[in-house]
């Protein structure tokens, strides 16, 4: 399982080898600095800790700065561990989009755009009421939320108004259309949660992993 921390830059369109137009999301996915390798012996689990997006050292706590220093990397904004990283790396290494190649499948994890307090029509796609037929004041309401004395309670998971968006979401099985190592960019087919400029995790697809482990 390999992965990277990245930043969603925006969307555009490219043509695949067959000539079909494909909508892609552009993700800045490097340089990712290896901060620490967690091993079975020392940490009781295997993982690789990556850091992304440089930061002024003065903006980071002394404790974290000390941690960054150990691997020889500068201060970074984002730190994240990837379990069972299938590449052999050591602290101080720099990895980038080159760990993926065009045609690979990836999962994208991001925080969706916040929609604030949303009603049931927007949040749960309820139908609402009629606009016409003498309807008055019952356009976007949820209606009845349960039955009568049987069962006497509201079923769990009933769609209600409330805060929508700004939650972590994973989109699985997105194909990598192109890897631009010079620009540290990944072009990934389809859309990715979050606004432009948000951090996203690009990880080898759980359901379509790469066949051989790539060096």
């Amino acid at each position: 399982m390999i992965g990277l921390i990245g930043k969603k830059l925006g969307q555009t369109r490219v043509y695949d080898t067959a000539g079909n137009a494909v909508g892609v999301t552009v993700v800045l996915a490097g340089p990712n600095r290896v901060l620490q390798c967690r091993t079975m012996e020392t940490d009781r689990y295997c993982a690789v800790q990556l850091g992304f997006d440089e930061q002024k050292p003065s903006r980071v706590s002394k404790a974290l700065n000390g941690h960054f220093k150990k691997s020889g990397s500068g201060a970074v904004k984002q730190v994240r561990e990837f379990r069972n990283f299938s590449l052999t790396v050591k602290a101080g290494d720099v990895v980038g989009p080159g760990i993926f190649s065009a045609g690979d499948y990836v999962d994208a994890i991001g925080v969706t755009k916040g929609r604030g307090f949303a009603g049931v029509v927007r949040r749960w796609k309820f139908r609402g009421g009629n606009r016409s037929h003498g309807q008055k004041g019952w356009y976007r309401r949820p209606g009845a939320i349960g039955c009568r004395s049987t069962p006497g309670w509201v079923i769990k998971g009933k769609g209600m108004p409330g805060h929508m968006g700004q939650r972590q979401r994973t989109v699985q099985n997105l194909q990598v259309m192109a890897v631009r190592e010079d620009d540290q960019l990944l072009l990934i087919q389809g859309s990715i949660p979050g606004a432009n400029g948000d951090y996203v995790i690009i990880r080898e697809s759980k359901k379509n992993p790469k066949a051989p482990a790539k060096k």
Binding site: L9, T12, R13, Y15, G19, L185, N196
Partner: protein, 124 residues
């Protein structure tokens, strides 16, 4: 995303020499059509009634009357399926989008005033 970066990414997918025609021109669009494993060229003739978008996202719309029925096709300017575009006749129009042609019937629906100031390229 800034424009410079977009241009850089899109550059690889752009046509080497941009298609040269304007709204109002009567054109032949040569498209590659795949049937099974065979490929052939199909030509769509009509009037360009609009262009939109920019960069690799640009498209143009061609309208023609086919057996009395108006047909519009939208082509991405940089699509590899669009082999080439021949201009048969340059039109002189005063609109960016010729949607008014949709309301017209008969002869008027396919007539756009010719632009005599620019010599029409020889189309076969």
């Amino acid at each position: 995303m800034n424009q410079a970066l977009l241009d850089k990414i899109e550059a690889a997918y752009r046509r080497k020499s941009a298609l040269k025609f304007n709204v109002g021109d009567t054109v032949h669009v040569h498209t590659r059509v795949r049937e099974g494993d065979k490929e052939r060229t199909q030509v769509f003739n009509g009037i360009v009634i609009g262009r939109r978008g920019h960069g690799v996202n640009a498209t143009f719309t061609v309208r023609r009357i086919s057996y009395g029925q108006g047909v519009e096709r939208i082509f991405p300017c940089d699509s590899p399926f669009v082999e080439r575009v021949e201009v048969e006749r340059r039109g002189r129009v005063r609109r960016g989008k010729l949607t008014y042609l949709r309301q017209r019937t008969g002869r008027a629906a396919v007539t756009v005033r010719e632009d005599k100031s620019v010599p029409a390229p020889a189309a076969k």
